[in-house]
Amino acid sequence: MKRTLLGNEAIAWALLYSGVDVMSAYPGTPSSEIMETYQKLVKQMGLPAYGQWAANEKVAYETAYAAAITGKRAACGMKMVGLNVASDSLMSSAYIGNKGGFLIISADDPGFFSSQTEQDSRYFAKFARIPALDPSSPKDAFRLTVLGISLSEKFEIPVLLRPVLRVCHGREIVEVPDFDFKGRNGEFERNVERWAAVPRVPRLKQGYELLNKLNQIALWNYENLLKPQLENLKGGKLLIVASGTPYSYVLEVLEDTGLKADVLKVDMPTPLPINLLKGLISSYEEVIVFEETYPLIEEQIRHLGNVRGKLTDDVYKVDECTHERVAETLKKRGFLKETPYVGYEYEGEIPPRIPSLCPGCPHRTVFYAIKRVFKKDALYPSDIGCYTLGLNQGVVDTVLCMGASAGLSCGFSKSLPNRTIVATIGDSTFLHAGIPPLIDAVANRHKFILVILDNGTVAMTGLQPTPERVGNVNIPKIVEGCGVKPLILEYDGTIKSTVDFFRKVKEVYEKADGPVVAIVNEFCTFDKERAKLPGKFAKVNQEKCTGCGHCINDFGCPAFFWNEEGKVEVNPYFCVGCGVCLSDLCPFDAFEEDKR
């Protein structure tokens, strides 16, 4: 049946179509909808399959991998920076391999749309010596997911599927054939030489086996994925080698411009049958490689002929692929006289829309209170989540990676012994990677305040449930178990009690000789079960407003804006009626209730 599917939805359908009966994932844009869809479909269709959100990507990886060891078909899902976290398991499991098909789905984000890096997960596959598949569209993602599972089972090796943002959040009409879903019963065959291979001899053996597998897979790549395309190639002047979404852009640019060129699609950028490609690559006057994000294919084939790409400065090097960028390269190399992708740019000024916390978000009140109590001299390490946007309020000084607010604070406390350090971290991020640095802080007496902003959901990525929500995991008890008794605030939507709470935290901190933990129990305004918005809308009394800017600079609700008289107004279309600004925000008491 044909369906209109997000790439992530297509991947989830393909997993079920392939009989994957165990999936585990940690949320992260742009990957999150894969697990959401998997769980939804399993529930809707009543399938004998299991999908879960894991505490972090390493746990997600291991949960799914264990299923594949027992002969079940399994998949794990994450964004590419999550693969860093899971990489310890990845590297070792590549040697050991699996029984049932095992697909690692790592979604990349060329262009840094919602990520701190644009790292190319395909390199991790090459590094770990496993195959990578690089889909070019949602439809292609369905095809390569199915292929990946069977390939993994055939060669007993983990396979990486690397969809990029525009595949994950692309939408296309995809044919999902009818299927009967059969789960498998897991069986563990004791085989110490394999599953518990230790250094040196058993691992050495696996090292040789892995290389052997990789050579066979490179041949399989040639026979099944590359060779069938060769008869369509006409030879001559220009060959474009493309994988992932750049392949789609190349096809459209050729169509839009009428340029004739041979195109070779690379489904599996690693392992490549380099020797078998030599004749082909060297037979063209010029070969241009388009791929995202780093030059993985180009690096492997550049010595085979006149190969152009990122390494030769002919193709853009950072950011995502677009029609314009493909056309630009073709123009630069003399294949196009001009680019057809030219648009009219508005010349007036458009104020930039920087991402900001949603109207009514409790994080904003907490950051405001922290700033008021700890002032601008404190150091504010923060973490990965919506609350990174506290940087708009001047209370986020560092953002590194998951859990690093606490880890960096350990180091800052020793390097900057005279600075007050107030770190902020969300509940899910704390459970993901914040616990070991807290243990370290207790053990080594690192003095800082760790504020856990607990809204009981993974808000940033679309409200996935947290361990607290699904299994009564208790953050205060975890903190206490690490060796600190936390101070706890039940957020009540007022500036006053939030400020009072942080004054108390400050007093405790002044006497402390190790970490102080403050937990604020909040909600996400999109969380239908927990959000408390009292429906108190705001307006600004124009006579009282002096235009001092305190509310915009330090609080910064997106509903506030400067009017032409240099005073603040509330855009009623954005106001959600949280009522926070109505008291203790404006020094001149200019906010008033807008009774609707």
Binding site: K2, R3, T4, L6, T29, P30, S32, E33, F113, S114, S136, S137, P138, L165, R166, V167, H169, G170, R171, E172, I173, T245, S248, Y249, L251, E252, D256, T322, H323, E324, P340, Y341, V342, G343, Y344, E345, Y346, G348, I350, P351, R353, I354, P355, S356, L357, C358, P359, C386, L389, M460, T461, G462, P558, P572, Y573, R596
Partner: protein, 177 residues
Amino acid sequence: MRYQMVITGVGGQGIIFLVKLLSQCALNRGLNFIGTETHGMAQKGGTVISYLKIGDFKAPLVGKGRAELLLGLYPTETLRFLYYLRPDGVIVTNVEGEDFPDLPFKTFKAPASKLAVSGEINPKSLNVFMLGYTMAVVENFPFSKEEVEEAIHNINPRLAPFNVEALNKGYSFALNT
């Protein structure tokens, strides 16, 4: 049939719903569809942009200077993405006040935010209202009102009456102004 379209606005306005709706229309008609949407951090009050390509396309993004229609649910965001329009492309935009500039494109303006704040339309249905408005003013819009209504029912039968009403409000608002 080949039609490229860009929809912009700010996070939370329900642009993804419009993409789902129009891709469902394409599916019902047996046409191909490809596009891409904004999810995640970029959504948080930030600029949201979606690309919709109906017919035989392969890539998710729309090239600069290639879109036939730019539908803007928020005026600043409409202006931000003019470069996607073909020279003969059409703009349909929500405006706040009278200060939307004159542009070298055929432009249709609806005061949808104002109608939402004053309660004449539900703020949550501003997206579908603007789609209804678009369908009344844009001559070569690829789908009929009946097709969009059918897709609304396909996607969420429970909320269908609410969305069909918003669609018709937008449609008749265009005819009466």
